[in-house]
């Protein structure tokens, strides 16, 4: 049997020290050993029973229950004050056979993989690589679990690849303690698996595009994500370039994404007529405290996987003094006027090396990111056409009302079909400010105040925006989610409250969903919303 250890913890914190948050208890579930239970599906089903037992226990105690993986979100989205469940040890991985496919599927079984929730991106990449496959995209690093990634919309800078949830084609949820509470969701327009496979994991199925899209970025509120089916692709290489280019050209590219007609080209990355190729990844780094004429940009081009290629890892990886970061923060809190100077001193550690060229797989390029002290990240999604204007507004904000100890970056991501995906524009520019976490003093505004001003400035200037669910913001800002998603907020809530009973909807809510008005059900939920089509 899968087993769970329970700890009374009192408080819980994120990986990046954005808490601590008061928390009653932490469950840690481990799978039954391979020796005792050789079949992966048996171990998966056995674990599902254990999760259902924990859900029943929470129900019996009238308490909430929330799963989390690597705790990489900087917002409180993963937190619950009652019972938190660490699922990082639930890391089964299964291939899909041709016999498991739905008769009308367009997917190739060799590209589909069944992945349990607690697998990190790195584990999945290792597994896929052993099968000659790769994820289509990942975040900037690899430590997040797949359950956490899709719940919060983790993204990289894949112009045409999308965010992590965009290659998920099936979701297996545990929505309660009873037999009928294990449910598998797919799009009816894109079925993947057949009844034979789903019987093996003891699940009922609902094929419904809108329900699937609502649950895809489910913010932990659609139940316990036990497993997902992902679509991978053939392993590929990324060639990464770091260049310093005229800032007007960098921003023009942000606005148009027209690499073909840009005056900026990389000699190795042009077509036969000398026009620039469209990169897989485009990112701009901006130090808002310097009036630079040039910006550092990072571009990656997709290449066929071919051995040999130069080792992408440096032999030695250095890190700066942890105490220096602490000192930086203390100086920033006491003497905020020094922040631009401090940021400038650290530019070599926070910006990539210009003219660096590296080739590697997706997993090698977006590699480990160790903990480097308390960190913050504010990230807004805007239509890429609005990105130069938004950058100008937020740069003015940090200079006029800051300074804030961080720098900007802009990444560009293809639109997601998920109902509450913050990558909602045709191409979304994720404009983010990352830096060290500071405490409010008489000299510097708080992170929440700064986040509130970001929202106000964008609203006042008529820039449509979203906010990354896993990043810092003033999440209690009145009407924030309605403003960002309009009617989609109601649609998301209706699907959630159709799938879950009122009691279970409450169990899978948390303070974050309450604060953002996503926990409260709508009064007029249409009938038959979640029928299988």
């Amino acid at each position: 049997m899968a087993s769970t250890k329970t700890f009374t913890i009192g408080e819980w914190d994120t990986f990046h020290n954005n808490g601590p948050f008061p928390t009653k208890m932490l469950h840690i579930t481990e799978l039954e050993g391979k020796g005792n239970m050789p079949s992966s599906t048996d171990r998966y089903n056995d674990c599902a029973q254990e999760i259902q037992r924990l859900i029943q226990e929470a129900l019996n105690n009238n308490e909430g229950f929330r799963a989390y993986g690597s705790a990489w979100s900087l917002s409180a989205i993963a937190h619950h004050k009652d019972r938190m469940h660490y699922n990082g040890n639930m890391n089964l991985k299964m291939t899909i056979d041709a016999d498991d496919l739905h008769a009308n599927t367009n997917y190739h079984h060799k590209n589909l993989f069944f992945i349990e929730c607690g697998n990190t991106i790195k584990e999945i990449s290792n597994f896929l690589s052993a099968h000659g496959k790769s994820l289509k995209a990942s975040g900037a690093s690899n430590g997040q679990t797949i359950g956490g990634c899709i719940s919060t919309g983790v993204h990289g800078a894949g112009l045409d690849a999308g965010a992590v949830q965009d290659f998920v084609v099936g979701i297996n949820l545990i929505i309660g303690p009873n037999k009928n509470d294990i449910v598998y969701l797919e799009r009816h327009s894109k079925p993947a698996l057949n009844q034979l496979f789903l019987q093996k994991i003891n699940t009922r199925i609902i094929r419904n595009d809108d329900l699937f899209n609502a649950a895809l970025v489910g913010l932990g509120g659609f139940g316990f994500i036990h497993g997902v089916v992902i679509e991978a692709e053939d392993r590929f290489l990324l060639k990464r370039y770091v260049k310093k280019i005229d800032k007007n050209i960098a921003l023009e590219l942000a606005k148009t994404l027209d690499f073909e007609n840009s005056s900026f080209t990389i000699p190795q990355e042009v077509d036969s007529s000398g026009k620039g190729l469209r990169p897989y990844h485009y990112k701009i780094f901006v130090n808002p405290y310097r009036n630079d004429n040039e910006y550092v940009v990072e571009l990656m081009y997709k290449k066929e996987y071919k051995l040999p290629y130069p080792d992408p890892f440096p032999r030695i990886k250095t890190a700066i003094y942890k105490d220096l970061i602490t000192l930086f923060t203390k100086i920033a809190e006491k003497f905020p006027k020094n922040i631009p100077w401090l940021v400038d001193q650290l530019r070599n550690t926070i910006m990539p090396q210009v003219d660096e060229e590296v080739t590697g797989t997706l997993a090698e390029i977006f590699w480990d990111a160790p903990h480097q002290g308390p960190a913050f990240a504010c990230s807004v999604g805007i239509d890429h056409k609005d990105s130069p204007k938004a950058l100008e507004l937020l740069s003015k904000l940090v200079n006029d009302e800051g300074p804030i100890p961080g720098i900007f970056a802009m990444r560009f991501v293809k639109q997601s079909q998920a109902t509450l995906a913050f990558t909602k524009f045709t191409i979304t520019c994720m404009l983010e400010m990352d830096g060290v976490l500071w405490e409010k003093t008489n000299n510097i505004i708080s992170l929440t105040e700064f986040s509130k001003r970001i929202i106000e400035v964008l609203m006042q200037n008529g820039i449509l925006f979203t906010i990354h669910w896993g990043k810092n913001s003033d999440w209690a800002f009145p009407g924030l989610v309605e403003h960002m998603f309009g009617n989609k907020m109601k649609i998301w809530k209706n699907y959630r409250n159709s799938l879950l009973s009122a009691e279970l909807a409450q169990l899978f809510s948390n303070d974050f969903l309450e604060m953002t008005n996503l926990a409260q059900p709508e009064s007029d939920i249409p009938q038959d919303l979640i029928v299988s089509l």
Partner: protein, 115 residues
Amino acid sequence: MKLIQNNLKLCCILLLLTFLQSCYSVRMVNTSGVPQPDPMNNVAGFYRHKAVTKIDTVIKLKTLEKEFTLLEKCGDRGFHSVEYRNTFGGLLRSVFSFGKKKTVQIKYVCLKESN
């Protein structure tokens, strides 16, 4: 003037930090390894949320013994990372014991079980 003051300030801090480091560590990491997690380990830095084993001991060798091997368990998985700490005190202990007492400070993380 202010810029010079600021630069001096930073230099002093860096010098202080340098002198405080009387010992150093060497950490070796398996690039494709996934560390065994420990969500209860809330330390700051590299080992945060990793299941780390720490060894801090002195190995005493007998007259005819020259070297030693530490036998550690990571199941059939292997090591994600190993960190060896070298201290000035440890070096002195070895010198004054004619190499018979070895200070050993090691931290290691096993690979996460693959399922």
